[in-house]
Amino acid sequence: MTSFFQNLGMNYEAAWFTATIAGILLIALPLMLAVALIIYSERKLWAAFALRRGPNVVGPFGILQSFADGLKVFLQETIIPSASNRGLFLIAPIITFTVALMAWAVIPFADGVVLSNINVGLLYILAISSLGVYGVVIAGWASNSKYPFYSAMRAAAQMISYEVSIGFILICVVLWAGTFNISGIVEDQRGHIFGVINAYAFNPLLFPIAVMFLISSMAETARAPFDLTEAESELVAGYQTEYSSMAFALFWLGEYANVLLMCALNAILFWGGYLPPVEWAPLYVVPGIIWFFAKILLMFFIFAWVKATVPRYRYDQLMRLGWKIFLPISLFWVFLVSGYLMFTGHFA
């Protein structure tokens, strides 16, 4: 895009600056729209699972429901509890929201369509997603209230537990791809199985960790069945209890942007990202961005499916799954994958 602005008569630095700003807006604004629609579609899905109708009043098929909710929240009064830590109370939702948007900078939407194609893309995503916990923890502490604080404690422990196994899973993928660059990982999946199927997930050695990554990403985004940070039956609404109005809306937007990011990561790391599922020329007629969005939506359907059907884990079960099952298995898988790659001379 830089060259496009250079053709308009700008010098390189100004063109780069304008192109970057334009790129950020081109990602962030459609993302907000996608979040609004994804909340709507998820409510429709849950309704279908529960044999209800779901939102069907505002607009055709209720498609404008999220926008009506947004407007309602926007017009509400912002309530700041007098016992809260005012500054941190207001910063917390902003942190959640900003961090959820930042990670999208390195996601390739199609071949070469990426805001920042950096060498350490995967590490960047890991770093940014590890920041996400601060929004929750700060919100829980700054509310100066009992249930939000419990929620913050749970969130901190939960995120750290599952980041460990996510780290090992990413190492397996990086070992196979030989690069931390996300576009490089996607390109390495081209024709991965017999030169035909474009996905790591069909590799028998990588399929188990693909499943583990899907489960871990549900835990990392604190989605059902791991939504202990906002368990309604125990903690009112967890860290969001004291929030109202736009601060509350920012938490929601941030949370769903994170869920979409995790779906995108699943699609990129194991299901071939923007590549068509099979290496067959007519499939390349469909642009890569369509394949990518289709994969994200498929992943999101699985997330909604799980949320609608699986009951919530107990806290000790959550910790057991993270530390006693996923950590040893993913550690063993790093051995297995690196041993296999050494044995077959993958990089020789």
């Binding site: 350490v120 590490l123 890991l126 916990v133 901190a156 000790d316």
Partner: protein, 206 residues
């Protein structure tokens, strides 16, 4: 131009945040300022082309160490009056520490200007920053070839420290009953419940 602006931006925020770590009255605020300092230090690393180190700084320190800091500090019940009461008593110790640190700083800078010290390891090469070779490959190539022995020793020391920490703190508690997950999973409805059609007016044998 943009490098210069970013350098001064990151550097001044690091210093200001580091100062706020000390000046903030609330320890939770101190930890949060520390996180700001870490984050901007990572920005400085990116500026000198060490993107791998920058990401590691954020993942390890911001993502893990600082979360645990925050976890502990948030749970402390802090009495601010008591904190301030101890100030006068600890001033001499504080001044002593400051003097020692300043002396070390002066010594260090003096020694650096006098010329680099040759350490035990032979000068076999350094990881050079270049756009062609990614950071990770440069560091990995050096770490797993020239310094593989030192690297693995460091790993072993960390492993021993980890095992040691567990051995020292782990106590098998008596009298508590843990969860037996497999028996919970294997339990079936007919093991725990029964349907009875009880006649009216009679008690039930449990």
């Amino acid at each position: 131009m943009i490098q210069l602006i970013s350098f001064y931006l990151f550097a001044s925020i690091v210093i200001a945040a580091a100062a706020m770590v000390i000046f903030a009255r609330n320890p939770v605020h101190s930890v949060l300022w520390l996180i700001v300092a870490f984050f901007n230090a990572a920005g400085l690393m990116v500026l000198i082309g060490a993107e791998f180190i920058a990401m590691l700084l954020v993942i390890v320190y911001v993502g893990a160490v600082a979360v645990l800091f925050l976890f502990v500090v948030m749970m402390l019940d802090i009495d601010f009056a008591e904190l301030r009461a101890g100030f006068v008593k600890n001033v001499p110790l504080g001044i002593l520490l400051a003097v020692v640190l300043v002396a070390e700083l002066v010594l260090g800078i003096g020694a650096y200007q006098a010329g680099a010290v040759k350490l035990g390891t032979p000068d076999v090469g350094v990881a050079t920053a270049s756009a062609a070779v990614p950071n990770i490959e440069a560091i990995g190539g050096l770490l797993y070839s020239k310094y593989v022995f030192l690297f693995e020793t460091a790993g072993l020391i960390l492993l021993v420290a980890m095992v040691g920490a567990i051995v020292l703190t782990h106590r098998r508690s008596h009298g508590t009953r843990g969860q037996n997950i497999s028996s919970q999973v294997q339990r079936r409805p007919e093991d725990a419940t029964r349907n009875v059609n009880q006649p009216i007016g009679q008690g039930i044998e449990l």
